[in-house]
Symmetry: C2
């Protein structure tokens, strides 16, 4: 049986590398050079797709394609950074408090993960749970993802289960009267966890949150802010969002958004962002709480 082949559109979807980039790499670096099907169209092998995904991951960590392509076959895997386990104890038991949760994910044991999280939530209370468990855990998962020690579907399972937990927690909160905050993300940014964490904190502090899900076209964000009479629009950018696009997107949104509406921007994707005019950066979750207090001080 012939091996399965993937055409360029499928590879674009599965790797996140645009058709233009795939063709350009082939032209420039000589990789990947796919076979051609009967119509002369590119037909990538599963192996090539896997390698492209690895390259994409390394690039997201700052490596440059020109260097990566020059490397021989198996040298790539060694480039992944090594985060975890700085100090490995003498015991097999979890040395760090979050390890039990990560282990549950690695074992694909959703039930154990949920149970562990529920336990923590009950013990810590919602605010500390978000700040001390969900946020660091998300970071750890992100690191594991970066160094390739976590499969895509393991990360998906983590994300899905964690989203459920947070949404459930939010549902139990009373809806206050503070500023009305519209939470969403821009197209091409599907990550929801950061938004949910912020929403939890803001809702806990009595703000009125309007969750609009992810990937709202910019024009729609402006319309929604109008329709909901929002005081604040809060966006989240993950590390995966191409840095070079953030500024442009924000400028454009600021331009079409009513001036009276605050624009808050957080997430790992904007950590070291040159602050544009009229945009409030939220480098950490705590900053969101400060920003809320500041807003309230200015709007008595």
């Amino acid at each position: 049986m012939a091996e399965p082949k993937f055409n360029i559109a499928v590879v674009e979807r599965d790797t996140g590398l645009s058709k233009d980039v795939l063709r350009m790499w082939e032209r420039r670096y000589g990789f990947p050079v796919p076979e051609r099907d009967g119509n002369g169209e590119r037909a990538y092998s599963a192996e090539q797709v896997d390698r492209l995904r690895l390259i994409k991951r390394l690039m997201d960590q700052g490596h440059r394609p020109g260097k990566l392509m020059a490397l021989p076959g198996d040298a790539l895997a060694d480039l992944a950074p090594r985060h975890g386990r700085e100090a490995v104890g003498q015991t097999d038991a979890p040395v760090e408090p979050l390890d039990d949760l990560i282990d549950a994910i690695r074992r694909h044991d959703g039930a154990a993960y949920q149970q562990g999280m529920q336990h923590r939530l009950a013990r810590q209370g919602l605010m500390r749970f978000v700040l001390d468990t969900v946020a660091p855990l998300t970071r750890r998962i992100g690191e594991a993802w970066e160094d390739g020690s976590l499969e895509v579907f393991e990360e998906h399972l983590f994300t899905e289960l964690t989203k459920r937990l947070l949404r459930q927690a939010i549902a139990g909160l009373p809806t206050g009267g503070g500023p009305r905050v519209l939470l969403t993300s821009v197209p091409e940014e599907p990550h929801m966890l950061g938004l949910l964490m912020v929403e939890t904190l803001l809702a806990l502090e009595g703000a009125e949150c309007v969750p609009l899900g992810t990937e709202m076209p910019l024009l729609e964000i402006a319309r929604a802010a109008e329709a909901h009479q929002a005081d604040i629009v809060a966006l989240s950018f993950s590390v995966a969002f191409p840095q070079r696009h953030v500024t442009g997107v924000l400028q454009q949104l600021r331009q079409i958004l009513a001036p009276r509406v605050d624009l808050w921007v957080g997430g790992m994707g904007v950590r070291r962002l040159a602050v544009a005019a009229g945009v409030v950066p939220l480098p950490t979750l705590e900053a969101a709480l400060s920003a809320l207090n500041a807003w309230r001080a200015e709007h008595p």
Copy 2:
């Protein structure tokens, strides 16, 4: 101040029309013809983007681009189908049971919507709630979306709030031992509601559901099925998913998936699908329950 302009990449993101299509339409039909910026690159106006979104919507309903482009400026809006309110009563009160919920969404009153849904859930029980409230409501929202009477952000709000409700309901269920079902969708298919409805029903019947979120690369779906020892992989395709791609995707997935794993496929996007070998179609939610029973009969 100059009007905001959008480059071709932004338009692709916001409309879902590929760069190739945008350029081809310009070549063939003479619309849209954007201005050019200083570098000779296309710069679309907000007006053009809106019109493109309208055209995209009409095409998803079966209209053909050649015809649409030939129409003059404002004739397009009249093409939208008119679903709702076949028999308008003499009263202003909701004539159909679901109207109060839809009205709440239209008023952007999330709290009222959630309250109404909770009420129904309590009264109907989870299974009937899914079958008699969530499913028809989703359909009604879809129709409103098609005929353009619902804004994008209104649909997003509905989706987000409904997802929360269902996830909350699922969380309360005991996790049974029946077949292990892996629920997800393929890349380019971000819609989650259908999956959640199926998951609710299957979980109610005691199946062990593994929710992996949306947009899993095909190779990863196969890996996840392996790692989780899944008996069944269930996919969902919305109407928005291009029909002509469904068959190819399913063939490819079937090819890389272990033969012992069932492949179930549901959603509005596969309503009239020529059934491929080794793929179980689920044209309705009820069919999912039947399929579960059939599976159990075959695996004593």
